[in-house]
């Protein structure tokens, strides 16, 4: 490029600005600035987030409260196995859960916990019978000897009808590998019992119930399906908002690290809960999902709302909640 052209370009650039227009424009700008209310773009989101979180927590808190139905039943928790045996009761309902914990009792309300089997034996009376026989023949022992590697643990909650009221008994049953020995622990009294021989053998039918083994494939395949659904809806949203195609997935490295860490942490908490305790509380599951998406949503709205990435995050959050809801319905 010749110097002449460069010089001419700089002459083009040297445009004189109308001083009258400039002054008027500055006055108008000052007026607009003084009229503008205090910027609340940042603070605006804080109460909103607080309200959403509070509402979500209250919702789940209400969900976990005991229902009136239970009060009417007037469940009475008995202390020992002997009560059940002596009173010749009528077993109404049995809840079973697979667990690895000696102290945590997993067979809880199946509508609030993922991983509890509300056991229905139908017309097959072997199931309650085997429990009754085992409890009749159970011999109290001071302390059972077992180790985790060679033991399967099942938590069994029995609701039975006796003395004109519904009572419940919470048992932890320890199946020792390659033996005909079963230990039982009354969770309310802390008393250990030992069952041997044929009745221990009959009790093995409860060992065959593997709730965790059933849940993990459902969690995995349904999770894959949900991720696929989120991806497809994400494609649709990207198609409608081309700006998303040009936008980086993460705002900065910190955003990336925290988002991914929280995700792995949540997955870790759920899986370890399932593996060690055998159950996952539905409220906790929903709260974890909420926590998982709160930070990305906050970052998107705070730093690049105009890029519309929060549409994707909100979609993912809704699908994750639906995923948990479907799991609750299925299991």
């Amino acid at each position: 490029m010749t110097k002449d052209l460069e010089h001419s370009l700089s002459e083009v650039y040297d445009v004189k600005r109308d001083p009258e227009l400039k002054r008027a424009s500055k006055e108008q700008l000052s007026k607009r600035m003084s009229q503008a209310k205090k910027l609340k773009s940042r603070a605006k989101w804080h109460p909103l987030f607080a309200v959403i979180t509070l509402c979500t927590m209250l919702f789940f808190l209400i969900l976990t409260l005991p229902t009136g139905d239970n009060d009417e039943k007037a469940i009475h928790t008995s202390a020992t196995v002997s009560v059940l045996v002596d009173e010749r009761p009528w077993i109404q309902n049995v809840l079973v859960a697979e667990t690895r914990s000696e102290h945590y009792f997993a067979a809880r309300n199946p509508s609030l916990y993922i991983g509890v089997l509300d056991f229905d034996w139908g017309s097959d009376l072997d199931w309650p019978k085997s429990l009754e026989i085992a409890m009749q023949e159970a011999r109290p022992v001071s302390r059972a000897k077992w180790n985790h590697e060679q033991t399967d643990i099942r938590d069994i909650k029995i609701e039975y009808y006796a003395k004109n009221q519904i009572n419940e008994l919470r048992l932890k049953v320890f199946y020792i590998d390659q033996t005909n020995l079963v230990y039982m622990k009354g969770m309310d009294s802390g008393q250990w019992y030992e069952v041997r021989g044929e009745s221990a053998e009959n009790l093995q039918m409860y060992r065959a119930i593997r709730t965790v083994d059933d849940i993990v494939p459902i969690l995995f395949f349904l999770g894959m399906g949900s991720m696929m659904l989120a991806y497809l809806i994400g494609l649709l949203i990207r198609d409608k908002n081309p700006i998303l195609k040009r936008t980086k997935r993460f705002i900065n490295n910190r955003h990336k690290v925290i988002t991914l860490s929280v995700r792995f942490l949540v997955i870790g908490i759920v899986l370890s809960n399932l593996y060690l305790l055998g159950v996952v509380n539905i409220t906790v599951a929903f709260l974890l999902v909420t926590i998982m998406f709160m930070y990305p949503l906050y970052m998107e709205l705070r730093y690049r709302k105009e890029m519309k990435c929060h549409y994707i995050v909100i979609t993912q959050y809704i699908i994750a909640c639906l995923y948990v809801a479907v799991i609750c319905l299925l299991i």
Partner: protein, 178 residues
Amino acid sequence: MRQRLFEQYYEQYSDAIYKYIFLLVGHKETAEDLTQETFYRGFKHYAKFQEQAQIQTWLRKIARNIVYDYYRRKRIIRFIPFVAQYEPPDMSPIPSEIVEKGEKIASLYKALSQLKLEYREALILRKMEGLSIKETAQILGWSEAKVKNNTARAIQALKKIVGKEVMLDDEGFRAFTK
């Protein structure tokens, strides 16, 4: 406090921003309005300015977005049949400020306005304002290589247009093509 700061910024930087916008939109009243809007948006969103760049660079970025919005709106208006009917055809007359500078400069301005927006931006920032490649890349959100390429291509395109003008007029622009 912030208002006073922006009034100061307006005094310091509004001329440069005005020129930049003016050369992109080619209309002094519109350029003035868009300059004002640039400073107003800067004032409104000052909390988002994280001092990763100079304030002038940040304001230029805002100005660029405003110009793009302006063109986008113009494009949308053309799709509305009623408005399109009464919208005057976009003849882009040469502003009087440029005409005053003589025929040679007016023709160069005309050639410049025929370039596509990306090339025009590269030329304005690099060759007219004399910004560095890095600063230009920061404002336009391009890579430094893209800035270099677009500037070179813009100059070639400008020379080509100016050359045609020479063929037509045969006066004033011979020097550019040598």
